[in-house]
């Protein structure tokens, strides 16, 4: 067991964890922040994507102890039901989801893309989202949504 302290969505959190505790388990099971999903056990699906010191990572493959001192942003940290993040709004408007299971990871990875590249091409979006799998949409509307979010975010800036 060890004590870890990290910043999650702007708030300092301290917890006792087992050495084998994964960041995603800390989020979902200890903190009951269940917006971050787990879709596989092979680090392939991207449902568990969060921002980790500003970069999108798969929280199912980071130990809680590796996150000690880190700044983590989850899907709960970017918008609210009343005031969606522009990427969430765009997924809503462009029908970028069906069952919604992959959506938190898709949104978080897209947020990372747009903070690093505010004007991505369609090719850039498809390449960036390679590590996020969706079994429903066929990706078309997800890509549309991210391109739309880029436009609305630039218009607001």
């Amino acid at each position: 067991m060890a004590t870890v302290t990290l910043t999650i969505n702007g708030e300092k959190v301290t917890r006792e964890v087992e050495n084998r505790r994964l960041l995603v388990q800390l989020l979902r099971e200890d903190l009951r922040m269940t917006g971050t999903h787990v879709g596989c056990d092979t680090t392939q699906c991207g449902c568990c994507t969060v921002l980790f010191n500003g970069d999108a990572v798969k929280s199912c493959t980071v130990l809680a102890q590796q996150a000690d001192g880190a700044d983590v942003v989850t899907i709960e940290g970017i918008g609210t039901a009343e005031k969606l993040h522009p990427v969430q709004q765009a997924f809503h408007e462009k029908h970028g989801l069906q069952c919604g299971f992959c959506t938190p990871g898709m949104v978080m990875n897209s947020v990372d893309l747009l903070q690093k590249n505010p004007s991505p091409s369609e090719q850039d979006v498809r390449h960036w989202l390679e590590g996020n799998l969706c079994r429903c949409t066929g990706y078309h509307n997800i890509v549309e949504a991210v391109l739309h979010a880029a436009d609305t975010m630039k218009a607001k800036a």
């Binding site: 060890a2 087992e18 050495n19 084998r20 994964l22 056990d41 092979t42 680090t43 392939q44 991207g46 994507t49 980790f52 970069d55 999108a56 990572v57 798969k58 199912c60 493959t61 980071v62 130990l63 102890q65 590796q66 000690d68 990875n109 990372d112 893309l113 960036w128 390679e130 590590g131 996020n132």
Partner: protein, 265 residues
């Protein structure tokens, strides 16, 4: 996932001492190979020694015709490095083709080289450029470092600290990806420079990454794709699986090597 001891290494020598003191201890770098393996119970280390806090194991320098990449440098850092893009653009292509964005944000060059997965990209870059692997104990030529599938010259308490790549006149890396995992089914790294002409192949060999002497000789005489089109590898020495038979891999080796020569420009 079975539990394990966990320690944040305070220095390279601290990490080496911990590896020596604990039977079954393993280094943890980006965790992009080791943690999935532990989760699937394919590995059961007794302790993890985390290199993640060692700032002096991170960074890239270019000096005297050598690009030095420290072990804990992430794939994303190589991809974004203007210095590497200027000196050895083929390494930027290689780093940018590893896995996906999230994997590149955690995975490191040291972990990738230490792991020597037969389908990994960096082993081809190291062998194809004639890199030197610098460890906590010694310096090893890539030719001596990679030994067999998932097997290297590393001793149990030896730590990779950096990798030195001589800057070539030209180099290119072309990989035929597995569409699901994005690991190489066949990847060819070709270079011409201070170490002569080198052709290294990953993804295909049943003993891991390898060079093709016949292609290197042919390219030394004439650096054209045509010079190697008739040179084939023996399917008997290639991996075969549901993704690609050994015959198909043998065929792809020549195709990818030719494309890499063309990409060298």
């Amino acid at each position: 996932m079975y539990d394990f001891e966990y320690a944040k290494a305070k220095s390279v020598s601290d990490a080496a001492a911990r590896l020596k003191a604990t039977d079954g201890a393993k280094l943890l770098a980006g965790g992009m190979t080791l943690l999935p393996t532990i989760k699937l119970r394919l590995a059961k280390p007794s302790a993890l020694v985390d290199l993640g806090r060692l700032g002096d194991l991170k960074g890239i320098t270019v000096a005297g015709g050598i690009v030095t990449i420290k072990a804990m440098t992430r794939h994303a850092d190589v991809l974004r490095s203007a210095d590497v893009a200027k000196a050895i653009p083929a390494l930027v292509t290689l780093a940018g083709g590893i896995g996906d964005v999230q994997v590149r944000h955690r995975g490191t060059i040291g972990g990738s080289v230490a792991n020597n997965d037969p389908a990994a990209d960096y082993p081809a870059g190291c062998l194809g450029l004639g890199a030197t692997i610098v460890t906590s104990k010694r310096e090893l030529a890539a030719d001596d470092f990679f030994q067999a599938l998932f097997t290297t010259a590393l001793q149990p308490d030896e730590i990779i600290t950096e990798i030195k790549f001589p800057v070539p006149e030209r180099a290119a890396y072309i990989k035929f990806k597995n569409p699901a995992s994005r690991y190489a089914i066949v990847g060819a790294f070709v270079s011409k420079g201070p170490k002569g002409v080198r052709v290294a192949i990953t993804g295909a060999g049943d003993n891991g990454v390898f060079r093709i002497a016949a292609m290197e000789q042919a390219l030394t005489k004439s650096f054209t794709a045509k010079a190697i089109e008739g040179i084939k590898v023996d399917p008997g020495n290639m991996l075969g699986d549901i993704h690609a038979s050994s015959e198909y891999r043998a065929h792809l080796v020549t195709v990818m090597a030719k494309r890499a020569v063309v990409a060298c420009g």
